[in-house]
Symmetry: C2
């Protein structure tokens, strides 16, 4: 008889964002007359840049002609896009990444999840707490996390990110094999400086660990001391895989394009992880739509850069508004300066869900409870800067009025 | 120290299609004056249908407006597309599939590969021989195939498809847990009738096995006795997962859209595989681009149907030309009547690669050696109907001239 992967049965049932959505729906149903503003989800709201639309439509027209039609493309992505990535995202920052080290994909979420395929089940995995749930759940599905007991998986190594350590995890006190890092961070919105990242690369080198570095939010970095890529740190090309995305950089959450960098110099027992990931992608993936890759290429054009940068500036302005308003309301806030996320401490020792309920019930504003990202997120809520400026201002006024 | 998934190291190095491509390139380099016609790859050549282009561009325009912008969509696909699939691909054939049983994805290759995530490593897997390599390789990567010894994986159960059995596999003589079936078949081009499929559904029911049914080529079916879906067989909704694709149906190989059906009635030990696959997709996938889903929806419009059916008819005409020419040349041919693939027996007892080389060297035509799809493919070559009519005719004249 067929057997299922019973690691799936160990996953806790209620998903954070679905619970948040349900509560918001219940509020809307109970109060049809009251306005509801969502400051909860990490989804962009501004339209795609005109340069991107133009490129996408031109590519669609190409696909309608015998000469311009594109069938199966390279699983790794077209060179026209990979060369732009190598040039604009890396070479321009003094980092030498070959296009054969770049794998274009349909999303950083897919890659963060699928990357586990190339690793043995027998690896000790370290994750931050609080953390983006995908890192944890995908390892649990693969059988790498053990059992879910209390609020922890028995085989994961948790690295608390708290007010005390400035939301910067401390180096593991025991040997770990795989380390997930995300900077600028989701959910705390805090970014690591070059100096703060260096010890991680050293740790990985000394312990033969691999760092899985999620820099999906690098476009929001404003501080020159904060690296956009982990490869800005010497030696990182020997220990780290980097995930990048057009989702937040260019509003591609519904357009789906990302990429993962696996340097040739990253080896385990002489085996290049690049060749394993290449094999994985060639066998289980068939590339990103041609029209989408042309759209992503346009992000690097002169118009595309100007237009997408304007959208990022817009969201960062929202983040500023949120920070200022919540501070004025007496809350302690973190993040939002190099990231689209603001991590706000709950007042009066309220639990995350208690403060979530208070803001929802009294102000009609939806946030995300920090405890949903892990036990160390207790006592915080996350707000995002992705709403419209108008709604952001309105939501802040409503929150200020109840605090 | 981090450990890799060493199942990857067991995979045989040279991939069939890359070897074919290399030989073709060598021929072209050695004979720059001679024409080279590829009848080898399973990739479409006709442009996207005008209705599809129109929908894609309209969706791109939407994405450029504040009101029409779409961020993250449902991981399972938009209901506008899922309802069209349920209505046109199933209900129209008397099959009741709920939209919650349909998962839109970026490709049948991705789904055929990723579906393994929800099954235990401890399952006995049966595959046809010859076979689409993705079924085998993805199971090998997951550790379900054992070791590669000779031309076989030690833990897989192979079902030979030979001239003697009309390329229809026989029911396993031992208990197997997961069975991959692909009809119309790649590479043999042979299709199973309803009567031929029935015993498989019965076997699966009796043995608690799950059938993974790849019907990526169903649009090519011309024989009314050949089912387009395994769910046309009574009881199949309790034992089978079905993979479908717009790749061949609507020329989407470079546009990337497919779907997988996991009925709620398919359960193992009381657990719905639908809920496992849903969890897998929600955790490791973020949906198909909005513009691509709108393009796929247009395949079901009146214009879209007419235009895509015309393309299928064009390819089937090519298949007819190939069948007639090779038969005239004295070869025994199979397939090509309900599929875009023609499975031709080599003359004079030639090995697959010997005949491949002969046709390449003497006629300048690229085929695919049958032995590359598995040991039982020895003594055959595969030709595809996806070239232009002009090139198909020319290639057949060249082959006839050397036989």
């Amino acid at each position: 008889m067929a057997k299922i992967n019973d690691n799936y049965l160990k996953l806790p049932g209620a998903y954070l964002f679905s619970t948040v959505a349900r509560k918001a729906e219940e509020f809307a149903a109970a109060h049809p007359d009251r306005e509801l503003i969502k400051m909860s989800i990490g989804d962009v709201t501004k339209p795609l840049a005109p340069a991107v639309i133009k490129a996408m439509k031109a590519a669609a027209d190409e696909m309608g002609t015998a000469e311009g039609f594109h069938g199966y493309g390279p699983e790794q992505g077209y060179d026209f896009l990979r060369s732009k990535i190598a040039e604009c995202d890396y070479k321009s920052r003094g980092i030498d990444i070959d296009i054969s080290e770049i794998f274009v994909s349909d999303g950083a979420k897919s890659d963060c999840g699928n990357i586990g395929d190339i690793f043995s089940v027998d690896n000790k995995v370290a994750v931050c707490d609080p953390v983006y749930p995908v890192y944890v759940d995908t390892n649990a599905m693969a059988g790498r996390a053990g059992d879910y007991v209390g609020e922890h998986w028995t085989n994961l190594y948790y690295m608390p990110c708290t007010e005390e350590n400035g939301f910067m995890p401390e180096l593991p006190k025991e040997k770990v094999d795989i380390i997930y890092l995300c900077f600028p961070n989701n959910p705390t919105g805090v970014a690591a400086t070059r100096e703060q990242l260096k010890p991680w690369v050293e740790y990985a080198k000394e312990n033969g660990a691999v760092i899985l570095y999620d820099s999906a939010y690098e476009a929001f970095i404003t501080n020159p001391d904060v690296p956009h890529s982990i490869y800005e740190i010497e030696g990182a090309k020997e220990v780290a895989i980097e995930f990048r995305s057009f989702s937040k950089t260019a509003g591609f959450t519904g357009t789906r394009c990302a990429y993962t960098v696996v340097p040739h110099t990253l080896k385990i027992d002489g085996t290049e992880l690049n060749s394993l990931w290449n094999r994985r992608q060639c066998t289980k993936f068939n590339g990103v739509p041609y029209v989408i890759q042309r759209a992503a290429e346009a992000v690097y054009s002169e118009d595309g850069r100007r237009e997408t940068k304007a959208a990022i500036a817009y969201y960062l302005e929202n983040a500023k508004i949120i920070r200022a308003a919540l501070t004025e309301a007496g809350l302690t806030v973190y993040g939002g300066e190099n990231a689209p996320y603001i991590w706000a401490k709950t007042p009066d020792g309220l639990k995350s869900w208690e403060f979530f309920d208070k803001i929802l019930d009294e102000a009609g504003v939806v946030t995300t409870p920090g405890s949903g990202f892990g036990p160390s997120g207790e006592g915080f809520v996350r707000l995002t800067a992705f709403s419209t400026k108008e709604n952001t201002i309105k939501a802040m006024e409503k929150i200020k009025a109840i605090l």
